[in-house]
Symmetry: C2
């Protein structure tokens, strides 16, 4: 097999994981590693410090290097570094979902012009094989739907809320103490990370460029212990779901938000930091791929897998793999959240009054919403009642109108939450 000379940009958890795994794969030789601080003490044995540089341009401009492994993350300076590398004829293996979601199309266009390959298995769902399978063995399929748990941090937090009846705040704090959540958890808990990943995954699944700016995104910060309890009672688990689907008219519905997932659904059974991807296509039917979505070792499995495939391909051919050409000229027609159809969970705080159920029923009916379940979940000390409604399939804009109408009544004190439901 052709021996590839590689440079690593970024030497945090993933970068050191890749370095360690490459010690037993001598087809790939590490020539240079770009770090933020050369003098930092590192938890890695026998690292040759002469490999380290604090200038990543030493890598992307190095004529000896065939492939750049970018595991630093973020758009800047990664975009400039990778465009320089591509212009210099280097292949790219990256785990950078944010960069791919925001500027992937420019990178893939440039890679096509320069006849180099960009591989990025590690950018979505860590160690789970999904990008390469979609581009190779599943390529006979017309993929119509992806529903996935793509963020381990939020899945961990939601699992603990379910299992230990914790509030969101307490579960987040525990996740931070255990290293599952960062000090600033925004990227995870507000759904940005999952949105980048579903943007990348939807683009290759539907063969149309999905714009990150048009993805509806809602995090898990408003989920309460009350919602968790109600979901359990109704036979659901709350999960942060990244969804992408092709509608009958060819438009594309891509979004990230929490959902009540029926307990019998395989996605409801995926706990802690594990990721899972449900994919529906023709002719394959429904697949569910589950595994570790983050961490040094699983991510290194995907990065090194990409490197070994690259080495193997370059052994037999100098031309890039057709599978690696990811420039999608067609732009997806992404629909607005208001135009989506869902079943809904609505948590309502209302005055404890027999007319309230009738009011909710009437307002829903006036807005074309059929109710499938309505439950009073208890009386509060202030003599208000907690009411939970599950609707049949309804249009989001109708539901939003119904909530506005409900709040016009003095009997309705608050809409505590609105979540979508997956059966």
């Amino acid at each position: 097999m052709k021996k590839l000379q590689a440079g690593i940009i970024g030497f945090g958890t993933v970068g050191t994981g890749v370095y360690k795994v490459l010690q037993s794969h001598k087809e790939i030789e590490i020539k240079k590693i770009a770090v933020k601080n050369i003098n930092k003490k590192r938890n890695i044995e026998n690292i040759d410090t002469s490999l380290l540089t604090d200038n990543a341009f030493d890598i992307v401009n190095n004529p000896d290097i065939d492939v750049v492994i970018e595991v630093a993350g973020g758009v800047n300076p990664a975009f400039e570094l990778l465009t320089t590398a591509i212009n210099n004829g280097k292949h790219i293996v990256t785990a950078n979902k944010e960069l791919l979601a925001k500027r992937g199309n420019e990178l893939f266009q440039l890679a096509k012009e320069k006849n180099v390959i960009i591989l990025y298995e590690a950018a979505v769902a860590g160690g789970i094989p999904i990008i390469m399978p979609i581009k190779t063995i599943l390529c006979a399929n017309k993929i119509s739907k992806i529903a996935a748990i793509l963020n381990g941090t939020t899945n961990y937090i939601l699992t603990k809320m379910h299992e230990q009846n914790l509030s969101y705040e307490t579960a987040l704090k525990q996740a931070q103490e255990l290293g599952y959540a960062e000090t600033d958890p925004t990227g995870d808990v507000e759904g940005f990370d999952a949105a980048y990943k579903i943007a990348v995954l939807s683009t290759i699944s539907f063969n149309k460029k999905v714009s990150i700016d048009k993805i509806y995104r809602e995090g898990i910060t408003k989920i309460t212990a009350h919602d968790i309890k109600a979901a359990e009672d109704l036979g659901y688990r709350i999960k942060l779901i990244a969804l992408g689907q092709v509608l009958d008219d060819g438009s594309i519905d891509v979004r990230v938000h929490p959902m009540l997932v029926a307990k019998k659904h395989l996605l409801a059974k995926v706990n802690n930091a594990t990721n899972s991807i449900m994919l529906k296509g023709y002719p394959v039917g429904e697949l569910v791929l589950t595994g570790p979505g983050a961490g040094a070792e699983p991510t290194a499995s995907s990065v090194v897998g990409d490197l070994l495939v690259l080495a193997s391909e370059l052994e037999t051919s100098d031309k890039p793999l057709p599978q690696s050409i990811c420039h999608h000229t067609e732009i997806a027609n992404q629909i607005d959240i208001g135009d989506t159809y869902n079943e809904y969970y609505i948590a309502i705080n209302a005055s404890n009054n027999p007319g309230v159920i009738g009011l909710i029923g009437t307002v829903c009916g006036n807005n074309n919403i059929n109710i499938s379940t309505i439950m009073q979940k208890g009386i509060n000390e202030d003599n208000t009642a907690e009411i939970v409604v599950i609707t049949e399939l309804s249009k989001e804009s109708d539901v939003q109108n119904a909530l506005k109408d409900l709040l016009k009544s003095e009997k309705i004190k608050n809409i505590d939450n609105l979540l979508r439901v997956m059966n």
Copy 2:
């Protein structure tokens, strides 16, 4: 993309599925289809009857054909047909697990000599992407264990036994009526089909030739409604598990038998005809891939996926893919079932006598077996008791000795079942 000329051998469920799916993939042109009976009425529209032949050698000797799609099954005449095809320089896409398990090594050796590619994604787990991922994106991994549900028929039967408290005989009959089981169900219910598949999967996972003759195989025909009930009560589901694992000394343990799988395990949640593969490797950790294991369309997804990858590869190179070279020179050192270690479920019919529990405990202890649970499950009309034992990790030969010792006592009427346990 290079247009490939293909011939199909076998035009049953899978063959017609492949034909239909290829109608929308014009990179592959069907030149010839070998059938058993040309005049048979077929449930397929607009088939060009001039494509049909009842002589499969018309395909393997046809100079216009680049790739032979073999979906007929069985060792003969498939082996002769495919060796002829390979000798004629044709690539092979096959779904034939029995052929690969029994004579794969000869085929791969010949393919290597003749510089052609054999792809066989459809041979294991139907539409689930597993063969190509192991050979490509997961190739950085040292795979140490596979535990899988690889036979849809038996999983369907066991699911119905659990859900509807059916006997094996009744569940089998229903499965036959619904087309999930064949009139002669032996290949499925005795574990032959699963054994072929785990032989293929273990060989590529562990990079050593696994011999089908050395795979311990036990089917589901002895599972009773009593076992199902006891398993449920203890928190398990009974599944036919195909297992392959590398032991610390490098020897390989490959077998197929029913197991009590803890309900929290993802494999316990895979129901009906669905297949699922749990794979453990370093660095990836644990993956679970779930999906349709059979049927015309899922199988066609894998066959046509192989064909499109082949077409794409031949576009950029005339040399075969390194990933497709599956000739394993090293022979796996497969251990005997007697040398394996497992937790066990033992169902015992004994006289209803207070000394019985003590007897069982003593005999187990004398044979190095620690009991973790012992339960009396009820008294029969003949004043015998049904006793269920769950052991800690024990050596199979010790357990077999203990069962012999137990049967020496008049108090023990029968060993109703011995099953292994997966927690």
